[in-house]
């Protein structure tokens, strides 16, 4: 119970800090736009690695990964030094600069548990 409560407190303080972020950032949409390139690129990893790098499946979570580790892995994929299923085909298409900025971006993302959407019975009324 105590650990649960601690976790709850932690979650609450995270919630608090999370709620502070938009307040600080709402005046700085500009800065966000400068980072737009990396954000768009990083968001295209979401199909496999989850929204902001928090995976709901067996694909590794990227949120909060150590920058150095991230870069080492990406360069290993790029150079064929780590044997992957699919990542070499992504890493090889990126520049080293892009890999560096992605490392910074993902290191900054908080680890959160994403929820999976619930499946439903398809209704008769659904068209096509």
């Amino acid at each position: 119970m105590l650990t649960m409560i601690k976790a709850f407190f932690l979650a609450t303080s995270l919630l608090l800090s999370a709620s502070l972020v938009p307040a600080e950032e709402s005046s700085t949409i500009n800065i966000q736009n400068q980072q737009s390139h990396t954000r768009i690129l990083a968001a295209s990893c979401a199909a496999c690695h989850g929204t902001q790098g928090n995976s709901v499946g067996i694909t590794p979570t990227l949120a909060g990964l150590d920058k150095g580790y991230f870069v080492t892995q990406m360069l290993a994929f790029k150079r064929g030094e780590r044997s992957p299923t699919v990542m070499h085909h992504h890493a090889k298409g990126l520049t080293e600069d892009e890999i560096q900025s992605l490392a910074v971006y993902f290191a900054q993302q908080p680890r959160v548990t994403h929820i999976a959407p619930k499946t439903e019975q398809l209704k008769e009324s659904h068209g096509h």
Partner: protein, 432 residues
Amino acid sequence: MATNLLSDSEIDIQRRRILQATAFGAALLTANVGMARASKPPMGRVVIIGGGYAGTTAAKYIRMWSLGNIETVVIEPSSQFVSCPLSNLVLGGSKTIHDLTFGYSMVSKHHGIQWVKDSVVSVDTNAKRVRMSRGEISYDRLIVAPGIDVNYDRTPNLANAEAQTLIPHAWKAGWQTVNLRKQLEAMPDGGVFVLTVPKAPYRCPPGPYERVCQVASYFKQHKPRSKVVVLDANPEITSKKGLFNLAFTQTYAGIVDYRPNNELVSVDIPTKTVTTEFEQIKADVLNVIPPQLAGKVAQQMGLNNIDKRWCEVDFLTYASAIDPNIHVIGDSVSAGLPKSAHMATSQARVCAAAMVALMSGEQPDPLPVFANTCYSFIDDQQAIHVANVYRYDPAKKVMISAEGGGVSTAASAQEGQYAFAWANNIWSDVLT
């Protein structure tokens, strides 16, 4: 264990503190939204036509990246999202359509998206108003994301619901997919399933070949004397050629009969007989995948200027070449980019970021780059991929696939696991 360390009253105190803290957090959150609203009026209203992969993603990311400052409305006639990705597995029998069906309430609630269950009938672009079957709404910017429309010009006798009950396309996941599966289940062993593939470009380049594998996998296990005849209008398999060829000639040797350069000319519905330029074949179960074009509403708006089928856009903003105030994303966008769900979400995010930039007087990203992958299932467990990074080429003004992309070396169950993880992650990204 730890519970014993605290008495009930202590726990109560803790709980109250938590509640207070949470309430404080919540108050702060609303205060933020309130302050943002008060100090800075919403940046305007974006209306999105279509809540598929493209439209829903655009809505979520516009809300996220504008920090809630852009009012976002999605208009979608269905109350349910049915995923085309994995829908071929319904034909193979390892998934049901209900495993691929979701509601929209999570994504709309979490992100404050206004969700209108209706269908767009017409758009007055001068007045910036969208007319639906039950009302009207005005917009500052419009995103058109209606997916595909099917074209039965060549086989007009198939262009009605009754004909499609007998000969479904099942190229929009839903009841037609279920119908096709039932026909396969009812077919006696030794029967012939005929699948016709239209000339590229069409939605999901590897999709028809994945379908062949799924039906063949079902036959191999349950109806081993049956055949799959593929009449492909294209000169060769249009995606992951080597890998599909291996599946057709080895995994499903004796079941799959692949015939390229064999375009459908006509269909006799009662006998399920197809005629191509070269031959006539009678099917027991017939699946005609018709040629496709941009969704109906995009056609009505005259946005389909490429071959009268697809919509030309500026790949920095997805603004239409016909009307720069209107943005088009997803399968309706002109070819050159594979029409996949992953691609639809990537386009949606570039468009969302551009929307936020444009509506706050900023420059959109001048050199967008994004990743795309299509997994295909060879049976109920093994998958293969094609993966590429796409970058904007400022000279040619198109997205070009970067060096280093490619396909799997072989089908594997490990990639099957990653393909399911892909589905779960993209569903979570789009729908929560």
